[in-house]
Amino acid sequence: MTVEDTSTGNFVVEIWRGKDSGEFVSYDVPKRASQTILDVVSHVQRRIDPSLSYRFACRVGMCGSCAMTVNGVPRWTCRTHVDRVAKDGHIRVEPLRNLPVIRDLVVDMAPFFDKWQRATGQFIPSDSENKQAFAQVEPDSRERQEADAGIECIGCAVCYSACDVVAWNPEYLGPAALNRVWTLVNDSRDSGRTEHLAAVAGDAGCHQCHSHQACMTYCPKDLNPTAAIAGLKRATIKSVLRGEL
Protein backbone atom coordinates (compact mmCIF):
# COMPACT_ATOMS: atom_id res chain seq x y z
CA MET A 1 0.00 0.00 0.00
CA THR A 2 1.57 3.26 -1.01
CA VAL A 3 1.26 6.33 1.16
CA GLU A 4 -0.11 9.29 -0.75
CA ASP A 5 2.33 12.18 -0.82
CA THR A 6 0.34 15.10 0.55
CA SER A 7 3.36 17.33 1.11
CA THR A 8 3.40 20.87 -0.21
CA GLY A 9 7.14 21.53 -0.24
CA ASN A 10 9.91 21.22 2.31
CA PHE A 11 11.26 23.22 5.22
CA VAL A 12 14.27 22.96 7.53
CA VAL A 13 14.11 22.04 11.21
CA GLU A 14 17.04 22.17 13.64
CA ILE A 15 17.09 19.42 16.24
CA TRP A 16 19.42 19.05 19.20
CA ARG A 17 21.64 15.98 18.96
CA GLY A 18 23.86 14.87 21.80
CA LYS A 19 23.65 15.24 25.58
CA ASP A 20 24.29 18.40 27.59
CA SER A 21 26.97 19.13 25.03
CA GLY A 22 26.18 18.46 21.42
CA GLU A 23 24.96 20.44 18.43
CA PHE A 24 21.92 21.37 16.39
CA VAL A 25 21.56 19.29 13.23
CA SER A 26 19.38 20.51 10.36
CA TYR A 27 16.86 18.23 8.68
CA ASP A 28 14.81 18.80 5.55
CA VAL A 29 11.21 17.73 6.20
CA PRO A 30 8.08 17.79 4.05
CA LYS A 31 5.43 20.37 4.85
CA ARG A 32 1.96 18.94 5.49
CA ALA A 33 -1.39 20.42 6.50
CA SER A 34 -2.08 20.58 10.27
CA GLN A 35 1.42 19.30 10.95
CA THR A 36 2.59 19.32 14.56
CA ILE A 37 6.15 19.46 15.86
CA LEU A 38 5.71 15.86 17.03
CA ASP A 39 4.87 14.90 13.45
CA VAL A 40 8.09 16.59 12.32
CA VAL A 41 10.26 14.88 14.93
CA SER A 42 8.63 11.52 14.20
CA HIS A 43 9.24 11.99 10.49
CA VAL A 44 12.94 12.66 11.11
CA GLN A 45 13.31 9.56 13.30
CA ARG A 46 11.36 7.26 10.98
CA ARG A 47 12.49 8.45 7.54
CA ILE A 48 15.81 10.24 7.97
CA ASP A 49 17.77 9.35 11.10
CA PRO A 50 16.55 6.43 13.24
CA SER A 51 19.13 7.25 15.95
CA LEU A 52 17.15 10.33 17.04
CA SER A 53 15.79 9.83 20.59
CA TYR A 54 12.56 11.45 21.70
CA ARG A 55 9.54 10.68 23.89
CA PHE A 56 5.85 10.65 23.16
CA ALA A 57 2.88 8.50 24.12
CA CYS A 58 -0.73 9.57 23.60
CA ARG A 59 0.01 12.12 20.81
CA VAL A 60 -3.35 13.76 21.54
CA GLY A 61 -2.45 16.32 24.21
CA MET A 62 -3.25 14.39 27.38
CA CYS A 63 -0.15 12.69 28.77
CA GLY A 64 2.54 15.37 28.61
CA SER A 65 5.27 12.92 27.49
CA CYS A 66 6.16 14.87 24.35
CA ALA A 67 7.17 18.07 26.16
CA MET A 68 10.19 19.74 24.51
CA THR A 69 11.53 23.24 23.94
CA VAL A 70 10.37 24.63 20.60
CA ASN A 71 11.89 27.95 19.50
CA GLY A 72 12.84 28.64 23.11
CA VAL A 73 9.43 27.85 24.59
CA PRO A 74 8.56 24.67 26.56
CA ARG A 75 5.48 23.05 25.03
CA TRP A 76 3.76 19.77 24.23
CA THR A 77 4.94 19.03 20.72
CA CYS A 78 1.82 17.05 19.81
CA ARG A 79 -0.24 20.18 20.44
CA THR A 80 2.12 22.60 18.72
CA HIS A 81 1.23 23.23 15.10
CA VAL A 82 4.20 24.02 12.89
CA ASP A 83 2.56 27.03 11.30
CA ARG A 84 1.86 28.54 14.74
CA VAL A 85 5.51 28.56 15.80
CA ALA A 86 7.56 28.71 12.63
CA LYS A 87 9.18 32.15 12.74
CA ASP A 88 10.14 32.87 9.14
CA GLY A 89 9.94 29.14 8.57
CA HIS A 90 12.61 28.54 11.21
CA ILE A 91 12.07 25.80 13.80
CA ARG A 92 14.48 24.75 16.51
CA VAL A 93 13.64 21.78 18.72
CA GLU A 94 15.65 20.99 21.83
CA PRO A 95 15.14 19.10 25.09
CA LEU A 96 13.36 20.65 28.09
CA ARG A 97 15.43 23.16 30.06
CA ASN A 98 16.52 22.60 33.68
CA LEU A 99 16.76 18.81 33.44
CA PRO A 100 19.79 16.64 32.58
CA VAL A 101 19.80 15.49 28.96
CA ILE A 102 19.91 11.71 28.51
CA ARG A 103 20.18 11.93 24.75
CA ASP A 104 18.90 14.25 22.02
CA LEU A 105 15.37 15.29 23.03
CA VAL A 106 15.04 12.99 26.04
CA VAL A 107 15.61 14.41 29.53
CA ASP A 108 15.99 12.70 32.88
CA MET A 109 12.79 13.40 34.80
CA ALA A 110 14.19 11.98 38.06
CA PRO A 111 15.25 15.34 39.60
CA PHE A 112 11.77 16.72 38.88
CA PHE A 113 10.10 13.87 40.76
CA ASP A 114 12.75 13.79 43.50
CA LYS A 115 11.85 17.39 44.29
CA TRP A 116 8.19 16.41 44.31
CA GLN A 117 9.04 13.88 47.04
CA ARG A 118 11.19 16.37 48.98
CA ALA A 119 8.33 18.86 48.93
CA THR A 120 6.08 16.19 50.49
CA GLY A 121 3.88 16.20 47.41
CA GLN A 122 2.15 13.08 48.67
CA PHE A 123 -1.12 12.67 50.51
CA ILE A 124 -0.54 12.18 54.24
CA PRO A 125 -3.43 10.14 55.68
CA SER A 126 -4.68 10.42 59.22
CA ASP A 127 -3.79 7.47 61.42
CA SER A 128 -7.25 7.20 62.82
CA GLU A 129 -8.06 3.73 63.94
CA ASN A 130 -11.71 4.46 63.32
CA LYS A 131 -12.24 3.19 59.77
CA GLN A 132 -15.81 4.43 59.79
CA ALA A 133 -14.82 8.07 60.10
CA PHE A 134 -13.95 10.01 56.98
CA ALA A 135 -13.42 13.67 56.35
CA GLN A 136 -16.16 15.83 54.93
CA VAL A 137 -15.19 17.33 51.59
CA GLU A 138 -17.35 20.39 50.95
CA PRO A 139 -17.18 20.96 47.17
CA ASP A 140 -18.12 24.64 47.44
CA SER A 141 -15.69 25.51 50.22
CA ARG A 142 -12.87 27.91 49.44
CA GLU A 143 -10.30 25.27 50.33
CA ARG A 144 -11.77 22.72 47.94
CA GLN A 145 -11.95 25.31 45.14
CA GLU A 146 -8.25 26.09 45.74
CA ALA A 147 -7.38 22.38 45.67
CA ASP A 148 -9.52 21.70 42.58
CA ALA A 149 -7.75 24.49 40.71
CA GLY A 150 -4.47 22.59 40.91
CA ILE A 151 -5.19 18.87 40.93
CA GLU A 152 -5.16 18.32 37.16
CA CYS A 153 -1.35 18.47 37.04
CA ILE A 154 0.10 15.48 35.19
CA GLY A 155 3.75 16.13 35.94
CA CYS A 156 4.89 17.04 32.43
CA ALA A 157 7.63 19.44 33.68
CA VAL A 158 6.79 22.26 31.25
CA CYS A 159 6.42 24.67 34.20
CA TYR A 160 9.67 23.40 35.73
CA SER A 161 11.44 24.10 32.43
CA ALA A 162 9.86 27.52 32.09
CA CYS A 163 10.89 28.58 35.60
CA ASP A 164 13.89 30.93 35.80
CA VAL A 165 14.27 30.36 39.55
CA VAL A 166 14.73 26.62 38.88
CA ALA A 167 17.47 27.60 36.42
CA TRP A 168 19.18 29.93 38.93
CA ASN A 169 18.69 27.93 42.14
CA PRO A 170 19.44 24.19 41.78
CA GLU A 171 17.72 23.38 45.09
CA TYR A 172 14.45 25.17 44.34
CA LEU A 173 11.59 22.66 44.50
CA GLY A 174 9.83 24.13 41.49
CA PRO A 175 6.30 25.11 40.51
CA ALA A 176 4.81 21.64 39.97
CA ALA A 177 5.88 20.21 43.33
CA LEU A 178 4.77 23.34 45.17
CA ASN A 179 1.47 23.42 43.32
CA ARG A 180 0.83 19.84 44.43
CA VAL A 181 1.64 20.67 48.06
CA TRP A 182 -0.86 23.55 47.94
CA THR A 183 -3.59 21.15 46.80
CA LEU A 184 -2.77 18.88 49.74
CA VAL A 185 -2.68 21.74 52.25
CA ASN A 186 -6.22 22.55 51.10
CA ASP A 187 -7.38 18.94 51.13
CA SER A 188 -9.61 18.34 54.13
CA ARG A 189 -8.72 14.63 54.05
CA ASP A 190 -4.97 15.27 54.36
CA SER A 191 -3.74 15.32 57.96
CA GLY A 192 -0.14 16.44 57.40
CA ARG A 193 -0.57 20.20 57.06
CA THR A 194 2.39 21.03 59.32
CA GLU A 195 4.70 18.57 57.55
CA HIS A 196 3.70 19.97 54.15
CA LEU A 197 4.26 23.57 55.22
CA ALA A 198 7.55 22.74 56.93
CA ALA A 199 8.81 21.09 53.73
CA VAL A 200 8.13 24.17 51.62
CA ALA A 201 9.08 26.92 54.07
CA GLY A 202 12.86 26.72 53.69
CA ASP A 203 15.50 27.94 51.27
CA ALA A 204 14.34 25.54 48.57
CA GLY A 205 10.68 26.37 49.05
CA CYS A 206 7.86 28.69 48.17
CA HIS A 207 9.58 31.92 49.28
CA GLN A 208 12.12 31.64 46.48
CA CYS A 209 9.42 32.23 43.89
CA HIS A 210 9.76 35.66 42.24
CA SER A 211 6.27 35.52 40.71
CA HIS A 212 7.56 35.67 37.13
CA GLN A 213 4.51 33.53 36.22
CA ALA A 214 6.23 31.67 33.40
CA CYS A 215 4.75 28.50 34.91
CA MET A 216 1.23 29.84 34.60
CA THR A 217 1.90 31.18 31.10
CA TYR A 218 3.09 27.86 29.69
CA CYS A 219 1.12 25.26 31.66
CA PRO A 220 -0.68 23.19 29.01
CA LYS A 221 -3.47 22.46 31.46
CA ASP A 222 -3.98 26.15 32.34
CA LEU A 223 -3.01 25.66 35.97
CA ASN A 224 -1.58 28.51 38.03
CA PRO A 225 1.36 27.40 40.16
CA THR A 226 2.26 31.04 40.96
CA ALA A 227 -1.09 31.47 42.70
CA ALA A 228 -0.60 28.18 44.54
CA ILE A 229 2.87 29.28 45.64
CA ALA A 230 1.46 32.63 46.79
CA GLY A 231 -1.00 30.64 48.90
CA LEU A 232 1.87 28.65 50.38
CA LYS A 233 3.74 31.88 51.16
CA ARG A 234 0.71 33.16 53.10
CA ALA A 235 0.14 29.82 54.82
CA THR A 236 3.77 29.39 55.91
CA ILE A 237 3.99 32.94 57.27
CA LYS A 238 0.73 32.52 59.19
CA SER A 239 1.99 29.19 60.51
CA VAL A 240 5.26 30.74 61.73
CA LEU A 241 3.41 33.61 63.40
CA ARG A 242 1.19 31.07 65.17
CA GLY A 243 4.28 29.19 66.33
CA GLU A 244 3.33 26.02 64.46
CA LEU A 245 6.48 25.88 62.32
Binding site: V165, W168, N169, Q208
Partner: protein, 92 residues
Protein backbone atom coordinates in the same frame (compact mmCIF):
# COMPACT_ATOMS: atom_id res chain seq x y z
CA UNK B 1 6.90 47.65 53.47
CA UNK B 2 4.76 48.77 50.52
CA UNK B 3 2.73 51.43 52.36
CA UNK B 4 5.92 52.75 54.00
CA UNK B 5 7.59 53.04 50.58
CA UNK B 6 4.58 54.91 49.23
CA UNK B 7 4.60 57.28 52.23
CA UNK B 8 8.32 57.90 51.68
CA UNK B 9 7.88 58.54 47.95
CA UNK B 10 5.04 60.98 48.53
CA UNK B 11 7.01 62.75 51.27
CA UNK B 12 10.12 63.06 49.08
CA UNK B 13 8.18 64.30 46.06
CA UNK B 14 6.32 66.81 48.24
CA UNK B 15 9.53 68.08 49.84
CA UNK B 16 11.46 68.40 46.56
CA UNK B 17 8.64 69.82 44.45
CA UNK B 18 7.71 72.13 47.31
CA UNK B 19 11.28 73.43 47.26
CA UNK B 20 11.66 72.90 51.00
CA UNK B 21 15.09 73.70 52.42
CA UNK B 22 16.78 71.46 54.99
CA UNK B 23 15.89 73.95 57.76
CA UNK B 24 12.25 73.99 56.69
CA UNK B 25 12.09 70.19 56.69
CA UNK B 26 13.76 69.95 60.10
CA UNK B 27 11.37 72.58 61.47
CA UNK B 28 8.49 70.26 60.64
CA UNK B 29 10.03 66.99 61.81
CA UNK B 30 11.92 68.03 64.94
CA UNK B 31 10.33 66.63 68.08
CA UNK B 32 7.64 64.84 66.09
CA UNK B 33 6.81 61.37 67.44
CA UNK B 34 4.74 60.65 64.33
CA UNK B 35 7.60 61.22 61.88
CA UNK B 36 9.93 59.31 64.21
CA UNK B 37 7.55 56.37 64.39
CA UNK B 38 6.82 56.20 60.66
CA UNK B 39 10.42 56.52 59.53
CA UNK B 40 11.65 54.35 62.41
CA UNK B 41 9.32 51.59 61.22
CA UNK B 42 10.52 52.15 57.66
CA UNK B 43 14.15 51.66 58.76
CA UNK B 44 13.28 48.41 60.56
CA UNK B 45 11.29 47.13 57.57
CA UNK B 46 14.16 47.90 55.18
CA UNK B 47 16.67 46.29 57.55
CA UNK B 48 14.63 43.06 57.36
CA UNK B 49 13.63 43.15 53.69
CA UNK B 50 16.87 44.22 52.02
CA UNK B 51 19.26 41.60 53.48
CA UNK B 52 16.81 38.76 52.67
CA UNK B 53 16.42 40.00 49.11
CA UNK B 54 20.13 40.61 48.56
CA UNK B 55 20.97 37.16 49.91
CA UNK B 56 18.47 35.55 47.49
CA UNK B 57 19.80 37.45 44.47
CA UNK B 58 23.44 36.76 45.39
CA UNK B 59 22.67 33.03 45.78
CA UNK B 60 20.95 32.97 42.39
CA UNK B 61 23.42 35.05 40.41
CA UNK B 62 26.82 34.23 41.97
CA UNK B 63 28.54 31.12 43.36
CA UNK B 64 28.42 32.58 46.91
CA UNK B 65 26.21 30.53 49.26
CA UNK B 66 26.34 29.07 52.77
CA UNK B 67 26.96 30.44 56.23
CA UNK B 68 29.34 33.23 55.18
CA UNK B 69 26.63 34.73 52.99
CA UNK B 70 24.06 34.42 55.78
CA UNK B 71 26.39 36.24 58.17
CA UNK B 72 27.16 38.92 55.57
CA UNK B 73 23.43 39.48 55.06
CA UNK B 74 22.84 39.86 58.79
CA UNK B 75 25.75 42.28 59.06
CA UNK B 76 24.30 44.30 56.18
CA UNK B 77 20.99 44.44 58.07
CA UNK B 78 22.83 45.69 61.14
CA UNK B 79 24.53 48.41 59.07
CA UNK B 80 21.13 49.52 57.74
CA UNK B 81 19.71 49.69 61.28
CA UNK B 82 22.63 51.81 62.47
CA UNK B 83 22.66 54.18 59.51
CA UNK B 84 18.86 54.39 59.49
CA UNK B 85 18.65 55.07 63.24
CA UNK B 86 21.23 57.88 62.85
CA UNK B 87 19.21 59.35 59.96
CA UNK B 88 15.93 59.24 61.88
CA UNK B 89 17.68 60.58 64.97
CA UNK B 90 19.00 63.51 62.96
CA UNK B 91 15.51 64.26 61.73
CA UNK B 92 13.62 64.19 64.99
Amino acid sequence: MAPLVIIHLITMIYAIQGGLSAQEILARTEGSTLWGAVYGLFVVAVAVHAPIGLRTIIREMTPWTGRTLDVAAILFGAVVIVLGARAVGALI
